[in-house]
């Protein structure tokens, strides 16, 4: 690893890659939100919990690729900023959501001092984002008025979704992206144990 990339500060290349991931997932999140809206009307608020994980996948992917402090948080916030900059009507609210979910995803990485990016930590990051998000939506959508049984079901589903759609799928996508060779020189490529990319 060269001295620049071994530093804990983000390099320009890393910052731009995080921004690119944020912008692409900002666009994909919108498509996912449309699907959620269609399903939410007949199936109710539980669909938010079922589909939740995908909305914080970028934090897992970016953290797994860059492996530096605050990448999970930053990428989620950048995805939200990109939605504001592209003029998406819900941009500002998504910024608050991004801050909450990003902080949740960042916590497990911070607890390992940004040294451990194993599948267990990625799943924990997805679960942590789900817990933070649940507390946020509890206040935002007045979950206190719902029955305890429904709330427990929603919480369990949301944590499972965070682990599966963010933690597990995030790692699958990051590894598939790594195999394309575009991440050469970034931490995922230089850290031992990561699958080697196909090079042209």
């Amino acid at each position: 690893m060269d001295p620049q990339t071994s530093s804990r500060a983000w390099t320009q290349r890393e910052t731009t890659v995080i921004a690119a991931l944020g912008v692409v997932f900002g666009v994909l999140y919108l498509g996912w939100a449309q699907l959620w809206l269609m399903l939410q009307v007949p199936l109710g608020v539980i669909m938010l919990d079922v589909m939740f994980g995908f909305w914080c996948i970028v934090s897992i992917i970016a953290a797994y690729i860059i492996r530096k402090p605050f990448v999970a948080f930053g990428s989620e916030v950048i995805a939200a900023i990109a939605e504001v900059l592209t003029g998406h009507p819900a941009g500002l609210v998504l910024l608050l959501t991004g801050i909450v979910q990003g902080a949740g995803a960042e916590l497990p990485f911070a607890l390992t001092r940004w040294q451990n990016y194993s599948l267990a930590v990625l799943l924990a990051a997805g679960a942590s984002a789900a817990v933070f998000s649940f507390a946020y939506t509890w206040i935002r959508f007045n979950y206190g008025s719902l029955s305890a049984g429904l709330l427990i079901t929603m919480f369990v589903i949301r944590v499972a979704s965070g682990m599966l759609l963010a933690g597990y799928l995030g790692r699958v996508l990051a590894e598939r992206l790594h195999r394309t060779g575009v991440l050469a020189g970034l931490a995922i490529d230089t850290t031992s144990g990561a699958p080697s990319p196909k090079r042209a």
Binding site: T11, Q12, R13, T15, T16, V17, I18, A19, A20, L21, G22, V23, V24, V27, L28, A33, Q34, L37, Q40, V41, L43, G44, V45, I46, M47, G74, I78, I81, A82, V84, L85, T86, G87, H88, P89, A90, G91, L92, V93, L94, L96, W138, I139, R140, F141, N142, Y143, G144, S145, L146, S147, A148, L150, V172, L173, R176, L177, T180, V182, L183
Partner: protein, 256 residues
């Protein structure tokens, strides 16, 4: 930005508008009262239609997804309502406590208001002005701001990439037709196959952009000069006073 026409809210510093919008979002979250939520919605609709010149039909279309979201919360409240809890904890702000329909209507209005406030901010704030204000007045690192701005320019290219990938996948699907269930099982795999090239293309472009930014000395720590300065002025004072007064009035409606 959607148009270059002058609007009354555009001279206000984006950070003043951001602060006002955040305060309003917090108020919408905390004050659990139908009259307050309805007053906020009415205020934002007036601001958007009168000050921002948004046609009613366009406004209705923009608000539709938020209304759909709110509707989901409304009927869930009706079916799975449990009296007490958070609503009760808000004490005197909760004028209509205990009723499933009332709670559901407040949550519905709150979902719509989140969207309305957010849209009003996005509509009244040109993105370049916001980025400039964040850099000059809020300490956002230019390396981050320029990185985000440069990749936002890729979005039209991403749409082209997506169209081409869809065409390529459609051609492949035409040659290898799967049965109904097999087609459904293969859906996640097809999704991953679509996302990876999209991401790879964006990352490749981003890295080229980063190299060109480094080559132009963007990453060098220095005192930067800006062609357009983001300042706070009389418009900000007037806007802040008007926003505070409106908020106090609407909270007063809920308390009285």
């Amino acid at each position: 930005m959607r148009d270059s026409e002058w609007r009354p809210l555009h001279p206000v510093n984006p950070l003043t508008k951001l602060a006002a919008a955040i305060v309003l979002v917090i108020a919408v979250t905390v004050v659990f009262d139908i009259r307050f939520q309805a007053a906020v919605l009415a205020l934002i609709v007036v601001v958007l239609m009168v000050l921002e010149g948004v046609p009613p039909l366009r406004l209705a279309l923009v608000m539709l997804p938020f209304a759909l979201m709110g509707f989901g919360f409304l009927w869930t409240n009706l079916l799975f309502h449990e009296a007490g809890g958070y609503v009760e904890s808000l004490g005197r702000f909760s004028l209509l406590r205990g009723s499933a329909l009332d709670d559901g209507i407040v949550v519905f209005l709150r979902a719509v208001n989140f969207g309305a406030v957010s849209y009003a901010f996005v509509r009244a704030t040109p993105p370049a002005d916001l980025a400039r204000a964040l850099m000059q007045n809020a300490g956002l690192r230019p390396t981050v701001a320029f990185a985000v701005f440069s990749v936002v320019q890729f979005i039209p290219q991403l749409q082209d990439d997506l169209r081409q990938l869809h065409l390529a996948h459609a051609l492949r699907a035409a040659t290898a037709q799967a049965s109904g269930i097999r087609s459904l099982v293969g859906l996640p795999r097809r999704y991953v196959d679509l996302v990876i090239p999209l991401l790879a293309g964006a990352v490749r472009r981003a890295q080229r952009s980063a190299i060109s930014m480094e080559a132009r000395g963007l990453t060098h720590p220095m005192r930067r000069s800006f062609l357009v300065c983001s300042k706070f002025g009389r418009a900000d004072l007037v806007f802040a006073l008007a926003s505070s007064a409106s908020l106090m009035l609407m909270i007063g409606l809920a308390v009285v």
